[in-house]
């Protein structure tokens, strides 16, 4: 995989058949799909893997039942893809099953219509006796009035994205991280040059592609604007909370018309509660706000009372790009279906946008986009991703909760110290991650290691392991000069984004310890490597999500 590097400096343009913009799950699915069809691709990403919505979602592999009323077409797509992914990417999925439950006071009409609506979309929904439901999930409220079992599952979006890209790269695709598209030159109804910048070095270069695909998620409008094309888009922010331990075995949905805070999804050893739908002006600089968090907890507790008192370790948020009418009142009514736009309509003939949709339907969206690419290229190879299993790459495995402790206990080497005591990530594990990153030419920053492991994701939220890891990275010669301070700043700031709305009770005490150590003793706030006041970073960042 030595091709995972950045290209030479402002040399003659690089040629490729297809250039894909954005390494979320959609871009990842597309690069794999096209590569398996034998088409040459370059995938560019302005940050790291899953920097957008793909790193900040609920991780629910929908059965489709959530959309039976609001968006029946999406419901059917979800049902089909749910089935396909369970078969072809089982290592990314926890087939835990799901429940839809209603509590006293919920809309009786919706409850009564539910089985019928499910049936209409071909979705299996089995009525569950209330006592049985509470036996299956003891955390459920005793005010339950209806329960149905569905085929929901939990899916690891990071692994999914990584494995899609890994296979594509194995088969010859090129992937440039930290590479932003800064301009699209259009001449005679064609994009003739894509201008890129390496955001770490500032180096600029261009790519010439037969087809350019814009898979930039909530940034798709900004990318299209570079070609002079307007895509009307609404940004709908959703916030989520991670509990310290897993509350239910299954996915639990509120049996009502989709609204705020009505789903709890297991993610390995934790559960994730969400979400909200709040319009934002831009897809960048978003935070899970305290009012949202409190609202989510209060709503969630009606379904599962312990959510009122349980400990939360992290909050994060992502932005859904809703393509459509910006004047509609309720964003949930704007279709959550995907948008595949052939920009021939805008007189740019080799440009395609694929955005919106869901994690659940990423493969389907990629297939449709790839079909259009093939049509434009005038070729007709068949789609493979609907039948070919997704191979597991070794890279993603450390994000799985429990894997690192398991390794550590198995080998039981007394000299292998635990750097992250909460999640039991040892020195050997970190060394292995660093080696992998070295092979892929990736700089091992604290954030990048955090993205690829569970470091900093436990109850201490990185307060202690950040310094232990930093010390270790100096020992290994990875960090030089004041890079440790730079990294601590970045890592702790990014973690804080998810901590700050959840700081009460024990997590507040943790935060106080963190500040006492990093500010009281180390004086980090007085040692800003940028020489200027610490500014919040951009976007719903990669570590915005617990990679569970």
């Amino acid at each position: 995989m030595s091709i995972l590097n950045t290209p030479g400096s402002c040399q003659p343009p690089i040629h490729t058949q297809v250039l894909i913009i954005g390494a979320g799950v959609t871009g990842a699915g597309l690069v794999r799909d096209l590569t398996l069809r034998g088409i040459g691709c370059i995938l560019v990403e302005q940050k790291d893997l899953t920097a957008g919505a793909s790193g900040a979602n609920h991780g629910l592999l929908h059965s489709g039942a959530r959309y039976i009323k609001s968006d029946p077409a999406s419901a059917v797509e979800c049902r089909k893809e749910n089935h396909i992914l369970k078969k072809l990417a089982p290592h990314c999925i926890d087939t835990c099953g799901g429940l839809f439950v209603a509590v006293a006071g919920d809309d009786e009409k919706y409850i009564a219509d539910f089985p019928q609506l499910c049936a209409q979309s071909g979705i299996s929904a089995r009525a569950v006796d209330l006592a049985d439901a509470r036996e299956m999930e003891p955390a459920l409220s005793d005010r339950l009035i209806a329960a149905y079992a569905v085929d929901d599952a939990a899916i690891d979006p990071f692994r999914l994205t990584l494995d899609n890209i890994a296979q594509a790269v194995d088969k010859g695709a090129r992937f440039f991280r930290f590479t932003r598209v800064t301009g699209l030159t259009v001449k005679q109804s064609e994009i003739t040059a894509v201008h890129l910048v390496d955001t770490r070095t500032g180096r600029e270069y261009t790519v010439r592609a037969e087809i350019v695909v814009n898979a930039a998620g909530a940034w798709a409008d900004q990318v299209a604007a570079q070609a002079g094309i307007s895509i009307p888009m609404i940004y709908s922010k959703g916030s989520l909370l991670v509990t310290q331990s897993r509350i239910t075995r299954r996915v639990v949905n509120r049996l009502r018309l989709a609204t705020d805070a009505d789903i709890l999804v297991p993610g390995g050893t934790v559960s994730i509660l969400g979400t909200t739908s709040v319009r934002t002006e831009t897809p960048d600089n978003i935070y899970p706000e305290i009012e949202e968090i409190d609202h989510i907890i209060e709503e969630g507790a009606m379904m599962i009372p312990v959510l009122e008192t349980t400990r939360y370790i992290r909050a994060y948020c992502g932005v859904r790009p809703l393509v459509g009418d910006a004047n509609s009142g309720d964003d949930r009514k704007v279709s959550r279906g995907y948008a595949l736009i052939d920009h021939t309509r805008d007189h740019v003939d080799n440009f395609i946008t694929i955005t919106g949709g869901k994690l659940t339907t990423y493969r389907f969206m990629a297939e449709k986009a790839a079909n259009l690419v093939c049509q434009r290229l005038g070729i007709d190879p068949a789609c493979q991703t609907c039948t070919e299993p997704l191979p597991a790459s070794t890279d993603g495995q450390w994000t799985e909760p429990g894997l690192a402790p398991h390794q550590w206990m198995k080998q039981n080497d007394p000299t292998d110290l635990l750097l992250c005591e909460c999640e039991m990530v040892s020195r050997h594990t970190v060394d292995q991650i660093i080696r992998n990153m070295g092979r892929l030419n990736i700089t091992p920053t604290l954030e990048a290691i955090g993205l690829r492991s569970r470091v900093g994701k436990g109850p201490c939220q990185g307060a202690f392991c950040s310094q232990r890891l930093t010390a270790h990275l100096y020992d290994r010669g990875v960090f030089k000069k004041n890079e440790g301070i730079v990294n601590l700043h970045q890592f702790l700031s990014e973690r804080w984004r998810g901590q700050h709305p959840l700081l009460w009770d024990v997590p507040l005490i943790q935060a106080q310890l963190q500040e006492a150590m990093h500010c009281g003793l180390f004086g980090l706030e007085l040692n800003d490597p940028k020489g200027q006041p610490d500014k919040p970073g951009a976007g719903g960042g990669p570590s915005g999500r617990v990679n569970a």
Binding site: N482, L513, F522
Partner: protein
Amino acid sequence: MDNLPEISCDLLVIGSGITGMAAALFAANLGIDTVQVGRAGELGFASGFLDLLGVHPVEDGRIWDRPFDGIGALVAEHPRHPYAFLDKKDIQSALSGFVSFLAAHGLPYYTEPGKNLAMITPTGTLKTTYAVPATVQNGVRALAEKASCLVVDFHGLKGFSGRQIVETLDKTWPNLTTRRISFPDTSGELLPEHMALSLESPECRAQLAGEIAPHIHSAEYVALPAILGMYRPMAVFEDLQKQLNRPVFEIPTMPPAIGGLRIKAAFEKALPRLFVRTHYQQKITAVDKQGRNGFRFDVGRDHLRRVITAKGAILASGRFIGGGLTTDRKSVRETLFNLPVFQPVTRSEWHQKSFLDPRGHPINRFGITTDDQWRPLNNNRHPAIPGLFAAGSILAHQDWVRQKCGAGLGITTAFAAVNAFQRFISG
């Protein structure tokens, strides 16, 4: 509750962090009949450095070489800061009382009169502080001279890397080198506490010196993580210096660190000898105000359960870490007397959105407000409970972490609160 063992005293000191320890000491010095209750864990998080005032205004990150000038500027701008109720003479008496107590119990401190000191931390940053343990003193000098120095670190000691210190200080202090060695007779993970206890034995010290010596070469100083003894650090330190034939100094480690544990150990041993009746690792479970007769506290559990009656109390229960303040999703509460806590209306005003925001987090300035006699105030701005005084980090209108004034605030307000109690009981 009636047939529980009963202890009666004049003053109950609530808390066993640096403030509680200082209050118990100052009360004992005045001959006040004192009982102290506390969880006794808080000092484990202290570095052992005594800060007085390092930074003001925090948003500008301005560091003061002369802490009393800094305090002057601070209280001029923040007249509700606890330091505003103290005069320089009280601050000096409090600090010197505290430091000479520690010296008398085997923990001498180094200060430069009227000045702050600079010392290095394990992240390679510089910390401004007022007093450092004598085992650190050479570090202050070595840094000032930029002398050549060998930083020793250990296989198995996490979070302390000589390379990190050397690399980060590259520009400030180019004359540093580092060497990793094995601690005598160990493998696997090392904890500073165990290392410190091991080094109280001369054999271990000799072995350690033998490990270090070949790496010193021309270095003028030798630095180690803070592990040089727990109960007799000066003996350990001096012996090692002699064996290495170089001035030695300690660099603090990340918490739990030895510096704080040494202070704790010294107080735990000395206070009972000063006739303070200490009840550590005990929690107060209930308080009963009996008007003019003082307080009745229900303390401890099971067979350790007892009643303490006191004429007055000093609340030195700390903030969130110490347990003096607690929070739920909606508000901040004082845990023992349910005193009003100075705080804004909603949680959205507790923290900044950026962890290292130079302004600091507003929550750190919440707390108990008092009058100039250290009496917690009720909502009508009158003393809330007769006989009750408050000191230390629980006080509002300060941000000790960012202002670098934690120990100083604790020691000086304890001193003043004890004096106020003395006036109360005798007047």
